[in-house]
């Protein structure tokens, strides 16, 4: 296989969600001395972009998206040591701390956003569900997050999104983070009302939103 064929196949195995083949192809990238960063950009990321688009249009479902992400990460596990060995740097677009707020145990929407952000080049730390506001803030401080993404799927847990923002203000560190929100009952009006930096209706929306916010930071 020549370079172009390997890159095309990398995109294809991500779309197919076949982890083992993704690993084998990533090894071929190393063996053929293909630039691993190019393999990510022109192969793996392209596959994720296509599957993400299909998911957004309702042509693919969560299992396909998660399997694609797993293949992406399987290939990355092979490519990362090579990137380090070549003293190159994997450019991360920013660090996102994501979690569902206190009192809410819903995870699917948050999982999807985390997965799509991760495979779109962001460094993502997923705190899971039912997180007290202060825990979220302490974790954001600890990992030096750029963005805090808060999910709420019930009207009774929406106030917890506001609580995180209010607490950041009280602590005098609101300006350190972009805070974005999402979830079934959440809408742009609520985001404005509580002083969030943005609202994402879907995972793809969230990626565009975070990219836009990070561009402002630069």
């Amino acid at each position: 296989m020549d370079k172009n064929q390997i890159l095309e196949k990398l995109a294809a195995v991500v779309m197919d969600g076949t982890e083992d083949e993704a690993k084998v192809l990533a090894q071929a990238v190393v063996a053929n001395k293909i630039d691993p960063l190019e393999a990510i950009e022109q192969g793996l990321s392209k596959g994720m972009e296509i599957i993400g688009g299909r998911f957004e249009r309702g042509e693919a479902y969560l299992p396909e998206l998660l399997m694609a992400a797993a293949s992406f990460n399987a290939a990355m596990a092979v490519l990362k040591p090579e990137i380090e060995a070549q003293k190159k740097q994997l450019v991360k677009l920013g660090k996102v701390l994501i979690g569902t707020v206190k009192g809410d145990v819903h995870s699917i929407g948050k999982d999807i956003v985390a997965s799509v952000l991760d495979t779109s080049g962001f460094d993502v730390v997923d705190m899971g569900v039912d997180n007290p506001s202060l825990n979220i803030i302490q974790q954001a401080e600890k990992i030096q997050a750029d963005v805090i993404a808060l999910s709420s799927v019930m009207t009774t847990t929406m106030p917890a999104q506001k609580e995180v923002i209010d607490t950041l203000k009280e602590m005098g560190i609101r300006q350190k983070y972009f805070v974005i929100i999402g979830g079934g009952p959440v809408n742009p009006e609520w985001a404005d009302r509580i002083g969030a930096d943005g609202y994402g209706k879907s995972a793809i929306d969230a990626v565009a939103l975070v990219k836009g916010l990070m561009a402002k930071k630069k």
Partner: protein, 457 residues
């Protein structure tokens, strides 16, 4: 039959695994395999299928799915597993009926089959949040004033003394107790104090709130119903199990609450239909429900009226009502809101699909995806009752024909559906009466539906 302590034991001693492994290595691949093995296929041309053999095949797929996958306990990180024999034993011994209500409103909620002309158990109302006690009282009084109503859901309060109700906070407990008292008082005002409330505790998310607000001095009775839900998909946490343990010890009605998500871990319509059917067995086996509240929804659109979700509702309702004796309240989320024609087209389509497919009960379809504060009124309840009665006269083929016509009216609008009015926009809050414009809109829709072949007589 396994009892609830057996379930607790399974949650402690089942195989251990991470939640991610359960999703990725157990749930999704097994579901995919069984979709292929049983040849479950979504038929987009027939949102209300009419094939008893296919319904029974779907039941068999769901049975094998539950026996293979089990339920994941999020607190112990272990699988609650059932053998096929345990599941079949649970189904064989399920009573297929539930006793609800007191006095003259005490009734037995039983089963229906596909094409059954029996009117389903009519459950009206919703837990959609309301902002004032006056509106809640008006709504509940109006629900109970519909003579055919068998049971109700009461709204949740969004704040107490201006303090927002946050899940798990003490304010939630105040709001839950207050909602219960308002609910019972409004039922007394309507002359139906014995009417069962089946979404208790309305404002409660946490176990402590449910248990505390259920103390009898606040007005609840074991003949009401409490919702105890799974987490999507096939997951259970100790908070829910604590509620169940309390209610079973009291002898109160557990309402098993389940909501498969099309487009989520279930994948497409075929997988979602399997999971949806398996959930009715979970309602009996793991949640120990006296009845069940079940509402498949679409992940992307947040509603139950897309063509594929209607098919899931119909197919899994047929599979369950033919094979699993569990009185299920089927509920749908509409994309459109109050005082929009969109809502009523969706509501009619959803009620036709569920009722003709053998739903033992249908609940008032919820407006504006159930997330609009004050976005639910008694008008939707009255229409839901009238439409469910009309739908009971239809067999699956007739329902399929009507649903397809209705889909032509609203399907292309789902992504940009109007969220409609709030209660205070289309009702007089003081008198509790709807605006003339809203009455006129519903009359127009019913005339349209009659013209299409629906019989409201």
């Amino acid at each position: 039959m396994t009892n609830f302590l057996d379930i607790c034991e399974k949650a402690i001693h089942g195989p251990i695994m991470s939640e991610r492994d359960f999703d990725m290595k157990v749930f999704m691949p097994k579901l995919n395999e069984l979709v292929r093995k049983y040849g479950i296929q979504y038929d987009r041309e027939n949102p209300v299928p009419c094939d008893d053999q296919a319904a029974d095949n779907l039941f068999q797929a769901a049975l094998e799915f539950l026996a293979s996958v089990g339920i994941y306990c999020q607190d112990t990180n272990r699988l609650i597993q059932f053998t096929k024999e345990e599941i079949l034993d649970g189904i064989a011994k399920a009573p297929g009926q539930c006793h609800l209500g007191e006095g003259k409103d005490a009734k037995v909620f039983g089963m229906r089959k596909p094409d059954d002309q029996k009117i389903p158990w009519l459950h009206v109302g919703s837990g959609i949040v309301s902002t004032t006690e006056e509106m809640i009282t008006n709504k509940i009084e109006a629900y109970a004033s519909i003579p055919e109503v068998d049971s109700i859901s009461i709204p949740a309060l969004d704040s107490i003394r201006g303090i927002p109700v946050a899940a798990g906070s003490p304010v939630e407990l105040y709001a839950a107790i207050r909602s219960v008292k308002i609910g019972r008082d409004a039922l007394i005002r309507a002359g139906r104090p014995g009417l069962p409330i089946c979404n208790l505790v309305a404002t409660a998310a946490s176990a402590v709130t449910t248990i505390a607000a259920s103390a009898p001095q606040f007005g609840l009775r074991p003949t009401d119903g409490w919702l105890c839900g799974t987490v999507a998909e096939n997951k259970l946490e100790y908070g829910t199990m604590n509620k169940i343990a309390y209610l079973l010890n009291w002898g109160a009605n557990v309402g098993a609450e389940t909501a498969p998500i099309l487009g989520g871990y279930c994948g497409g319509p075929a997988g979602t239909a399997i999971v949806s059917t398996a959930y009715i067995m979970i309602g009996i086996l793991a949640l120990k429900g006296s009845y069940q509240l079940h509402f498949p929804v679409h992940f992307k659109y947040g509603c139950s009226t897309t063509r594929d979700v209607l098919w899931v509702v119909s197919a899994s309702c047929q599979a369950a009502s033919r094979n699993v004796p569990m009185p299920v309240i089927w509920l749908g989320y509409m994309a459109g809101g109050p005082n929009t024609k969109m809502y009523f087209y969706e509501s009619a389509a959803w009620l036709l699909a569920a009722t003709a497919s053998g739903a033992p009960s249908v609940q008032t379809p919820h407006s504006a995806k159930a997330v609009k504060i004050d976005g639910f009124t008694p008008m939707e309840c009255q229409f839901g009752v009238d439409m469910a009665k009309a739908a009971a006269k239809c067999d699956r083929q007739q329902a399929n024909h009507l649903v397809k016509k209705l889909l032509e009216k609203y399907e292309s609008q789902i992504d940009k559906a109007p969220s409609g009015d709030r209660y205070q926009d289309c009702y007089n809050v003081t008198t509790g009466k709807p605006s003339e414009a809203y009455v006129r809109l519903v009359k127009e829709v019913k005339e349209e539906l009659s013209g299409m072949g629906t019989s409201f007589a």
